[in-house]
Subunit: 103 residues, 2 copies
């Protein structure tokens, strides 16, 4: 299990206003190999968007990050920062972290 | 509800090996005002640690970030990056994001 943390500069954040395009994009993300969940993040003040993802494996997280980085660039994002982390499960369990049991 | 994303350079990551000190720290985090959950993240290869937190309010997230940044420095962390994000709830719901209902 891997956590993918992505954030980027994006001038066109819309807050809770949703375009049909973003709903379609979210639906398509459910079909990505190995995705467990995604939290969509945004900071209107500094015009930064992002996402926190849980994937089943490093390979699937890495493949998604490569594809998504290119997609973000075509959408007008810049300063894209993506890091794939391990999850420390024992400590995360103590703090109610929403990570399923492995295995 | 706010998502706090923190990551930092840390030379002493231990993977799944846990010291009693880290367990105590995790337990204390459960007592922080407004904390809903924390996921503990680490990347051994690049010696980067971090955490993804969900808080009930911006004020509580901001207060924790200030306190935690100082604590991380005393623990030997550097290049500390902390960003408080809004969560786009409609898109997050589409992707099974582990965020409780508000209100």
């Amino acid at each position: 299990m891997k956590l993918l943390q992505v954030d980027f500069a994006y001038p066109n954040l819309m807050g809770s206003t949703l375009s049909e395009g973003m709903i379609e994009l979210a639906n398509s993300i459910n079909d990505e190999a190995g995705l467990i969940w995604k939290i969509w993040t945004e900071q209107i003040k500094d015009k930064r968007g992002g996402g926190i993802y849980l994937f089943d494996s490093e390979a699937n997280a890495e493949r998604y990050l490569q594809m998504h980085s290119k997609r973000l660039q075509t959408m007008g994002a810049s300063d894209i920062r993506g890091i794939i982390f391990d999850v420390n499960l024992p400590l995360t369990r103590i703090n109610q972290g929403p990570v399923p049991q492995e295995g």
